[in-house]
């Protein structure tokens, strides 16, 4: 009797897990399959699962949209620039906050925490005006400059640097290593997993961002893929689902590629983000 109960429970749990997988995988499968269908097929009832006739019409419609190449280029430039500038700024800052002693350190670090707590959805109106004053609105700068100080990255890397034993740094100093060498040859290699986490996080948040570029751009020449995709939806109404899903697939490709390559890193680092 007990084993029977045990089996029933086991099967129930298994079914629940399979339902879970279906709920989370199906929308992605549906997105990909729709992108290869014709418009007529997406209007049929009952809906078809596999396309009757596979077509790439959706993809040519999406990429043929006037500025698609420009949107893609903007997404790539903004994402790369924001990662590069964030790292250039956060590495020395994290080092100073972790290793050095200087007057006002506590107060200045509390500024970092403040920046971490205040969401961009609160400050976007004044930042927009600031961008106008600086004369940056006709450029891509407003899409990555406001994130130059990655407070979360500084916080995370500081924690990692603080865990490196003092003896290692002392020994390097005795060998007359310069500060720059200590950072590049000792600290950074030891902090590699944290650096990867920060880079993944920066990549995802920049590539996927929609609110910020929507608010900061008023010319088509400056918009990234996410905003372009929403424009495609408005232009095609809700009739051309294959084209919209094809655009979605293109937007999603770099993310899923990265996820499959660095799955362990992803799951490990994103759960680590929550512990703090």
């Amino acid at each position: 009797m007990k084993t029977l109960m045990h089996n029933v429970a086991g099967i129930t749990v298994l079914i629940l897990k399979l339902v879970l997988v279906a709920i989370f995988v199906f929308p992605f499968v549906w997105m990909i399959l729709t992108s290869f269908k014709t418009i007529d097929e997406t209007n049929m009832y009952p809906p078809t699962l596999l396309p009757h006739a596979w077509t790439t019409e959706g993809f040519s419609k999406a990429t043929g949209l006037g500025n698609f190449a420009v949107y893609a280029r903007n997404s790539i430039i903004v994402t790369l620039c924001s990662i590069v500038i964030q790292f250039a700024i956060l590495i020395p800052a994290a080092y100073a906050f972790a290793i050095k002693e200087f007057p006002g350190k506590k107060l200045l670090f509390s500024l970092v925490i403040l920046a971490f707590m205040i969401p961009v959805q609160v400050t976007f109106v004044p930042v927009y005006l600031l961008m106008a004053k600086l004369g940056w609105l006709g450029t891509l700068l407003p899409q990555f400059m406001p994130f130059m100080a990655n407070a979360f990255g500084i916080f995370l890397l500081r924690q990692t640097f603080m865990q490196i034993p003092d003896e290692i740094i002392e020994a390097a100093r005795l060998d007359h290593a310069r500060e720059r060498q200590i950072i590049t040859q000792i600290m950074l290699p030891m902090a590699r997993p944290t650096l990867a986490t920060i880079a993944l996080f920066a990549f995802i948040s920049s590539w996927n961002s929609y609110f910020w570029p929507l608010v900061m751009t008023d010319q088509d020449q400056l918009r990234p893929l996410t905003v372009g995709l929403a424009i495609l939806k408005d232009a095609e109404g809700t009739v051309n689902w294959p084209a919209i899903m094809a655009g979605n697939v293109i937007l999603f490709l770099p993310i899923i590629a990265m996820f499959l390559v660095a799955k362990k890193q992803f799951l490990g680092s994103f759960s680590y983000l929550g512990i703090k």
Partner: protein
Amino acid sequence: MKKDHLKSYLMISPAILGICLFVVYPMISLIGISFTNYDLVRGSGKFVKLANYEKLFSQPAFGEILSNTLIYTFYYVVLTMSLALFFAFLVQRSNWFDRFVQGVTFLPHITAMVSVSLVWMWLMDPFAGFLNYILEEWFHVKGLQWLQSSSTAMMSVIIINVWKSVGYYTLIILSALKTIPADIYEAADLDHSTKLRTFFKITIPMISPTLFFLLVVMTISSFNVFDSIKVLTGGGPVRSTMVLVYYIYEYAFIHMRLGYAAAAGTVQLIIVSFITFIYFKLLQKRIYYK
């Protein structure tokens, strides 16, 4: 000043400059603008004292928007928290299948909200959408209007946002579960504690700091919800999904009335700061009593 201090300041100065320019100054500026009638078309504004706030609180629409935001927050937080807990208990082993399920539920979190919104919009299409097909053919229930009716739009937006983020919170709860020492469970077993009792008397209290942290993070993110609303409903139908950030966005960039938008933004700043403040207060208290 010692030379070494100067070097330290140089190292942190770009970061501090960025924070002052793009966080501290905008916060002060936001409050300043909220007392003016700044207009994006004119590009200038005059000091109008509390006029924006008086208008804000006398508008019935603003009360409606606050209540929409609160309703969204309540359901989003309750659903995400309970589902994340449930998922975490369901897939907490470290065999390949459980890890696969964890990975799969996490995937929406790293997908753009624009993509997620568009896919669900298509699934929720009242005429040719897949969800109504399932409801009608499998369950013999009449299909819903989903995002296109004011009575179901908010529910649909909440479902989509929960779907996107629940896997992320599941991972965080899972990592908290791993920190519970095994001998506590063994002791509970020896005392013939039931599974349910162990769950409520041991597991939940042990991970309560993490759960509380998540509660704050979820609440703040609910108050900032925007992307999904913009793509899915544009605040409609008939303002049924109009939330705070969308309202501010509309006043600032569609009606071009920055002064008024800044007043609403200041209200949002106060709410978000209040939640954060409570979080830190309770955190301090807990550390103190330890």
